[in-house]
Symmetry: C2
Subunit: 679 residues, 2 copies
């Protein structure tokens, strides 16, 4: 048996779940993706995109060079296809290309990762956003058109988060009107940019500008690194791959060293600041807005990680109703593993969490658009609030999705460990987000600092930003109101916990200031308490947003009563699970009796039972195409064992009956041992 047939039918254990669901998953799809029309378009596009994909296991068994080659092939094909669709349905729009190059569809099209991602997301945008119109004409248009491929080279081998610590330098030579670019040390080598290894021929090189040895701050320079015809590195350029990673090995992350590499003066991006031919430096007039683009990127990270968690939850839900194990009653047949309460607790809360983050990130995206419009009207008032929310959402969603995916994977027992389950890959992609686009601990500290300012404002009676207003409310009413156990009460308990943690942190922080510590030293020394307060602020935002969406959301009137009930159950689960997760933080500041806690425990067990019959329909409603899930454990038809077997048979070692290592190592070893024992 060297092949196996996959049944054309749906596994009956999965089919019955669909039959018995209380609601139509299309309703969930419209809710989860925003609108029915989006779902329709998504379905239409996916059918077209996936009709000729390579086997996604190909790159897993390929040699390293072949894998890299496949990744480039897939990225080129994906770019062509998505541009063609965009051209057809809405020329000049951006809803298909480059949006779908990332996210679940991008993952289906480019299973080893996208070596053109930084080109699309950052190189082209930086040329547009930071370059002059002339620079856009010269570089940006060609980049947009993929006539050249670039990347964004900022982080260095020895320098990441702290931008001002970069060692790369650009010295202006006014005689030739050129910049002389150097990476003077090993630690100043550019390190990590996606596509820098071998796929790009240009990059934006971020360096300290010096004029007459005077530092002028961090600037961006367009640098050609490879010849457009031969693709050979240009003289003075040392470029290559940084090596194997936990995941996304097709992304071609690279290093770059430059030695006295000269570029014309006009290669510095000069929309906001300029170096004139005579070496005069004109500073940027703007500074306040520099972190606004990061808000957008972090919002995207949160959405993308929420979707990865939802994918993993889909896979494990389906597997959990196909896999049977360990009778509950002695002598009974083995039930679906999802009948075990502990398995329900592993799977169903992650479904609710994924939805909670999906909604929170959607809300943040909406706020981002509102704020972008306000900024156009020169109203910057909501920027700090947005910055804080983007930070905590990025952090808590990346953490929760990462650890959630891992717990879900463990919920598949050994089979989750197989590459064919695709859960390890989701984990690897998800966890990367914990350290990129703002390292998580650093972001939590930034939010903690903001909360210190907020609490000072509370003490001074100042009016707070809308998503912070609860600080004033709780401060004005220090005793927690009567415990009722309602959803409102549960959200309120989180708010009191956050406010309590903030107050306690503020006390430590101000004591340190009073002791004579400088503000940054006091922040560092209060780092643990600030992190806790920031974490809780994130919980409040996600929980209260979920509550608002379910109870007062704009689409509420369109929901069927059955679907509304499902959403309410998911909300109930999310709030109670968050309560238990932060029980210590809550009990410090909110008096909850043992009886009240016991009542919540019962509600937790009950709501798991209530949701149990609908979990397949809910995750079906997430609308992940089989090509996206790419999982033997989680395909729509639930033919788990056949698909595991099919994947195993693709293993290169199964292509011949006896592997070379037998004759080379094993046989001599066994024979030698036999010989010795006869002596």
């Amino acid at each position: 048996m060297n092949t196996i047939e996959i049944p054309k039918t749906v596994n009956p254990d999965l089919a019955i779940e669909r039959k018995n669901a209380s609601f139509n998953p299309d309703e969930m799809a419209a809710f989860f993706w925003g609108r029915k029309e989006i779902v329709d378009m998504k379905r239409m596009i996916e059918e077209e995109l996936y009709n000729d994909l390579d086997d996604p296991l190909d790159h897993e068994f390929a040699s390293y060079e072949e894998m890299a080659s496949l990744a480039v092939k897939h990225a080129v094909n994906a770019t062509k296809k998505l541009r063609a669709i965009q051209e057809r349905i809405h020329p000049g729009g951006s809803e298909v290309y480059p949006t779908l190059m990332g996210g679940p569809i991008g993952a289906a099209l480019m299973p080893a990762g996208n070596p053109l991602a930084v080109h699309l997301v950052m190189f082209t945008r930086a040329l547009k956003g930071q370059g002059t119109p002339e620079q856009y004409e010269k570089f940006g248009r060609r980049a947009d058109n993929c006539e050249i491929i670039g990347t964004y080279a900022q982080t260095e081998l020895g320098h990441g988060t702290f931008l001002r610590g970069l060692e790369s330098r650009a010295d202006y030579d006014r005689k030739t009107e050129e910049f002389v670019l150097n990476t003077p040390t090993l630690t100043s080598y550019k390190w990590w940019p996606g596509g820098l290894g071998q796929t790009c021929n240009y990059c934006i090189f971020v360096a300290q500008l010096y004029i007459d040895n005077e530092p002028k701050g961090i600037q961006m320079f367009v640098v050609q690194v490879r010849d457009e015809e031969t693709h050979k590195p240009l003289p003075g350029v040392h470029v290559g791959e940084i090596g194997k990673k936990l995941g996304m090995n097709g992304v071609n992350n690279g290093f770059l060293g430059l030695k006295n590499y000269r570029v014309p003066r006009t290669n510095m991006l000069m929309k906001n600041q300029q170096v004139l031919p005579d070496g005069t430096f004109i500073k940027s007039p703007v500074s306040q807005l520099s972190y606004f683009p990061m808000v957008y990127v972090r919002c995207m990270v949160a959405i993308s990680n929420a979707l990865m968690l939802a994918q993993a939850a889909t896979v494990v839900t389906r597997y959990s109703v196909v896999r049977r194990q360990s009778p509950i009653e002695e002598g009974q047949p083995e039930p679906k593993v999802l009948e075990h309460l502990t398995q329900q607790m592993k799977v169903i809360p992650e479904i609710a969490t994924a939805i909670a983050y999906r909604l929170a990130a959607g809300n943040l995206h909406f706020m981002y658009n509102e704020t972008a419009e306000a900024i156009n009207r020169k109203d910057f008032s909501r920027l700090p609030e947005l910055h804080a929310l983007a930070c905590i959402l990025k952090v808590s969603c990346s953490y929760d999705s990462t650890y959630g995916i891992e717990r879900l994977r463990q919920g598949c027992g050994g089979h989750g460990y197989l590459t064919a389950a695709n859960l390890g890959n989701l984990f690897a992609v998800s966890t990367a987000a914990c350290t990129y686009e703002g390292e998580n601990s650093v972001l939590y500290l930034q939010v903690g600092k903001i909360l210190m300012k907020v609490w000072a404002d509370v003490l001074e009676g100042k009016k707070l930003m809308p998503t912070m207003a609860y600080f004033t409310e709780c401060a004005n009413r220090p005793q927690f109101p009567q415990w009722t156990g309602t959803w409102d009460c549960l959200v309120r308990a989180l708010q009191y916990a956050c406010v309590g943690a903030t107050r306690v942190a503020y006390k430590s922080y101000s004591a340190r200031l009073k002791d004579g510590q400088s503000q940054p030293v006091a922040v560092n020394n209060t780092g643990l308490e600030l992190t806790k307060a920031a974490e809780l602020h994130g919980r409040v935002y996600v929980a209260s947003n979920f509550y608002e969406e379910v109870i007062n959301g704009p689409t509420k009137s369109e929901r069927s009563p059955q679907f509304q009930k499902v959403l309410e159950n998911l909300l109930e689960l999310h709030l109670i699970q968050t309560f238990f997760r932060h029980l210590g933080d809550i009990l410090r500041f909110v008096p909850v009796t043992e009886n009240e806690i016991a009542a919540l425990q019962i509600r937790l067990e009950e709501v798991l039972k209530k949701l149990r019959p609908d979990v397949v329909a809910i995750t079906d409603g997430f609308e992940f195409h089989d090509k996206v899930l790419n999982s033997a454990l989680g395909s729509y038809d639930g033919n788990v064992y056949e698909r595991l077997f099919e994947a195993a048979l693709k293993h290169p070692l199964n292509k011949k009956p006896v592997p070379d290592f037998f004759g080379k190592y094993l046989k001599p070893f066994m024979k030698e041992n036999a010989m010795k024992s006869k002596l």
Copy 2:
């Protein structure tokens, strides 16, 4: 630059840490490994073993078949070397071979995993433990001598934890005095056994025995699967690799299908039960001891996972004093990242946790040996206690090491994502232990069930086993004694939390029984509360054992005052961290005021500061050879950046200036785009 020189000197940022430590790491080494003599032997053996190893990155870039071949080569070499050393220093002993085939030294010798592991650990032992003397002579001696290579084929594609659910069957044919072996369905294919794919030629096949179609329970059969000369699968045998995994890809996990495959009657392992030639079945007289070997294995899992956590902590500690980032004071140079309090909190508690588990597993190992002796005297009294401890230690150590390694990895920022850091690999190996040798959730439930029995005994005033005695103490004194904040008080608080959780679970459980639910149904429905109680029992065991070792340990009198102080700081940290981790569980049952909590927060921050100067010496004292750590970020010399660069330069894509994919995909794509834009 295609090579880079690694400095022969220690990075000064790391050297100064060693110079300033308060104690001699050799003291930690003796403490951590048990005795100075063990450390000396370990050093001597490692020097000999590591003198001719392949580059551990080789297998990372090899094709799949080459990787498998390297894994076999390494396993054969490791076996030969360790047997030779064993032969030399203590013929017939077992302290070198096969002990060192696993654990950190095994990982250094076999970086892709050990395809002979199951042969060594289970195949040979089962032949010895379950076979008759004649069977040992026929199969066991050859297996011990590696003249044949076997594996232990129990789990099936559709069946894992629940042994009685296995579908493989063995029908006795009394005419020919043979068993007819079959895997009658796809889900009954054997799946997972290490080495089954292509490295073994024998296996123990675990199946339901049928005599005249009457089931006789699960039995073991010696089955030859490949020809000894040609290594070709024998007729009726379908065998192969199960596919790529998150880690340990060299282990050659395999599948096996048998079709009417006949073996002689004497191939059933018959030490404890027999099938006579006429088909008479003689049942095993023993049943109580069947899980005793599992206690040993779980103890080994805990030790091995504790060591993996310690390895990761060593790597990240060293990296954290070499990596510099983000000034704490505005305008100051970038400090070592370990000066950031949040980084201390990421790293130092994991060091303490690793030590706590190392000690707990060591203690369990000691109890195991004691119990083994008692069993020889027919005293089975401590077996249930030992079983419970082995379960919870295996579970909590595998969880904590897995998630701890991942947090540590994230503590290295992006660089932790590189394979060259070896943290991803540690994670992948560590997390496998969460689902093998007893799936963690299942084990927690088993312990939870034991705790229900314990609580019933408490209510009846029965005497409890020594490690459970605190249940009675707490029950007899329901009010928590005066809060003092001492270590004793912190351990006591955990005990009250565990007893409270057990009492609450018992209440729910007995209410369900009273409601008419059967015992197993009530257990399932109380699964979440039972899991919580079991988890806390584990915390109590680990914390109180750590406390005992530091305060009353047998080696205490030999410790220098400086080293004793370090151990006390580690204990303080572990107890306070555990307190905060279980704050909610504690506050439910133990009244702790906000001031008392705030005081513990300050102690936490203080003890991190106290330990900070000693962390390099502590982790040096873990005595992990560079070949074991195998990490660019964590080598003893701290030349982090040079080693990262060295690893990158080994990447196959860096071997030629222009990759093939340029001409094949990229150039046509860019040129086509340029052409179109000119139209």
